[in-house]
Structures are given as C-alpha cells and as structure tokens.
Symmetry: C2
Subunit: 111 residues, 2 copies
DNA sequence: TTGACATACATCATAGTTATAGGTATTATC
DNA sequence: GATAATACCTATAACTATGATGTATGTCAA
C-alpha cells in the first residue's frame, strides 16, 4: 500500500498530526480531540483516520512511540523524530503553496 | 454515484471550475489551461479530472452547456446557472472555513 | 454495585475523489 | 504529409476519510 506525496487536497491529517507533535508529545486519543478543539470544531478527523496515520508515521520513522501508564491509563505517546520534523516543513510549505494557488485563482481579477 | 458534500480537503476542482465560470463562459480545454496558468502552475487538474466534473455539474444543473463553432473549432461552452452561483458561494465559504481551521491549529501558540 | 459514560486503543468495509493512461477527431504548422 | 496542438471523452487505479464495530479499563452517580 504505497503512498505517493499527497496532492494536499488530501493529506491535511498528516500535516496537522505532525504539527501537533512538533509542540509536545501526545497520544492518539488526545490528538483526535485537539484537532477538533484547536480548529474550533472546523475540522474533525475520527479515530479511524488518526490511528492508522500514527501507525503509518511510525513505520516511516517520522514519529516514535512509547507506551506509558498515566493516571491509571495505558497510552501510546508519540513524539516527532528529526525526519518527522523535516517532513513537517515540507508539508507546511506545500500546503502554503496550494492555498496560495487557490487564492490566486479565486481572487484574481480579470477573466 | 451520489456525491456528498466535499470535506474540502477534496473538492478543490469543483470550487475552481465554478469560480472560473462565474467570470465568463468557458469551454473545457480552456478551463484546464486557465487553472494551470491562473494558479501559476501551482495547481493543475488534467482533462481526466475536469471533463467528468463538467458533466457532473451539468447533471446537477449548476452549469449549462452550448455547443458552438468558434475559429473552426467545435467547443462546448459552459456557463454558470443560478444554482451554480449559490453552490459557488457555499463552497467558497466552506473553503475559507477549512483553511481558517488549519491556520488556527498550525499557528496556534500554546500546546 | 451496577449501569452508563468517557477514555483509549484498534481494524475493516465502503464511498468518494483525483491521477493516469488511453482513446478519437480536427486543425495548424513545418 | 508528418507532427503538434486543440478539443473532446472514458475507464481504471490509487488513495483518503468515514462510519461501523470491537475490546478493555476507569469513573461516577443512582
């Protein structure tokens, strides 16, 4: 199941997950929740989207995980690797490029 | 083959096609070209993406078409209907909402 | 103490979208 | 008269996100 570079009309979940993990380590359930709250309910990716992404990112060595018990809960904490940081930079600039392109066409004057 | 509202991580081609047709009527091949040039090569949707969309939009009565010969060429000119105009407004505000959501999470300070 | 709800993980089937590759036909250009 | 550009079209493959479902544990109120 090979993945090509996202066109970034998709690929937003990967971007947001990497961005969240660039701030501090987090566990899956928390990521699902924070995507929803930090975007003020604008975006909401379900667990069925986020968990497979985390597994994929770990297989790519963009994140590493550590199982830990906190508050009587077993959680898989993920943190960004150096490679993941580079990937985040790539995806961020790609996202900016695409939104800028859309803006050009949407706002462009003439015909 | 019903289509739901795009999450707008997809749906960009529909948005751009409607936007172009909101300015003036155009034909398919021209739309393919102008998406590429007006976004300064940032975005490029092939004919295999644009033509099916035009057919879909016509089936939805969001655009209407008229075959015409111009410069010795047979072209299908498309123009926006009232319904298409409303749809464009919807998709535009949805796109803004989503990009604003991404920006919130990406730029948000704290953790 | 039990039932409901939230937390936390996981996977699968399906639906929907875009990309790729191919196909036809006409007109311009060299 | 060959090649490239214009102009249309379709089918298939690849990918993503959703929604359903499943497990297990912890919390809290009745």
């Amino acid at each position: 199941m090979k993945k090509t570079n996202p066109s970034f009309l998709n690929g937003v979940p990967e971007l947001l997950v990497l961005r969240l993990l660039s701030r501090r380590e987090m566990y899956g359930y928390q990521i699902v929740d924070e995507i929803r709250t930090q975007t003020r309910e604008t975006l909401s990716f379900g667990e069925g989207c986020v968990y497979p992404y985390l597994h994929y990112l770990e297989a790519q060595k963009q994140v590493s995980s550590q199982r830990r018990e906190v508050d009587g809960r077993n959680r898989n904490y993920y943190k960004l690797t150096t490679r993941g940081g580079k990937r985040l930079e790539e995806l961020t600039s790609e996202w900016k490029r695409v939104t800028a392109g859309v803006a050009l066409l949407m706002e462009g004057q003439h015909a």
